[in-house]
Symmetry: C2
Subunit: 203 residues, 2 copies
């Protein structure tokens, strides 16, 4: 497998320590609490060390988003779309599964993506990373839905429209699960099954 | 109509000026750029004036979110659910309609909600306001879907599950439209129609 830019193995040990510290600070204090001083303290390194790895805070935060989205995308693209129902289940579990059954590194990546989405509205660098992430989620879902519709596993429909719809639903449920006290994941999961699978009306 | 706490008429003129300034700063600089100094400058008032209306920045930001969600909720709850297809169309237009066809005050409210969603992950005050907003969106959609299913306007299904699904889709599309350069609204709109309306398979 080629080393894509989002592979954490591409980062130096020092960068990885700073990225993990950035993840922890983001998840505890939010984007507004993400100061260079706090990241340095959390990583146990000096600010000077931080600046030897990254030009400034924006570059570090952008790299944290590249790593977070990369973790999710890599996992997604490893799923086999030749069993589209299982692939869709695995996608829903990856993005909406409870913290008790999903690996901590994935839960952390999901929260970092949500934390930085709002900031992407006013930050072109973050916006570019999230556009690429949503593009890949969309491409993956479209292929999965195309195969599933072709094989009669999913109801007939336009894979392009359905994929955008399912991507929005997954992103919306993920954002709501982080930003409210509402329990949305299990109902949305049931809703996606009802929407896509032809058995839903007992036929 | 009773004066609910989210009615802007409840706010003093000074508060309303500060709230509108907070909206503008949030939409231009994001949550990370939302300092008391910048809000005061944007409103043309002194910091002292600001502190005469609000105890601190957190109280002002929370009130901005109460006003933004209130604008959307009030509009939503004025829609008549006895024509559920039209009510659903109007809901989609309210939350996803292009800035060229939706009133500026609604576009501003939508962006403020997206901007503050991420921060709600680490701020209990904001989290409480967004939980209430999503609860009301859900309740409204459930009623709209219940009536539509009963009248055969929408496909059969469980209104509770469908409402959570549609709420997640709308929130996800709104967040994606603000945080990426992708054009999602029109496809998601088409996807919702295909999901809910019995004519979708040409039957």
């Amino acid at each position: 497998m080629s080393e894509a830019p989002w592979m954490e193995a591409d980062r130096t040990v020092g960068q990885r320590e700073l990225l993990e510290a950035t993840f922890r600070v983001l998840r505890t204090h939010g984007h507004s609490g993400l100061s260079i001083g706090r990241i340095a303290a959390e990583s146990g390194r000096s600010k000077a060390t931080l600046y030897s790895h990254y030009d400034d805070r924006d570059e570090l935060v952008r790299d944290a988003l590249v790593v977070a989205t990369g973790r999710l995308t890599r996992r997604l693209e490893a799923l086999e779309t030749d069993d589209p129902a299982a692939a869709l289940d695995a996608t829903v579990e990856l993005l909406l599964g409870p913290a008790s059954t999903v690996e901590p590194s994935i839960v952390a990546a999901r929260e970092v993506v949500v934390e930085l989405r709002a900031e992407a509205a006013v930050d072109d660098g973050l916006r570019e990373v999230l556009t690429a992430f949503d593009d890949r989620l969309y491409d993956y879902l479209r292929e999965c839905l195309r195969v599933g519709i072709e094989h009669g596993v999913f109801e007939p429909g336009d894979p392009a429209i359905l994929a955008e719809h399912v991507a929005a639903t997954l992103n919306g449920a993920l954002v709501a699960s982080v930003s409210t006290d509402r329990e949305v994941a299990s109902r949305v999961r049931a809703g996606l099954h009802a929407q896509l699978e032809p058995t839903r009306q007992g036929s």
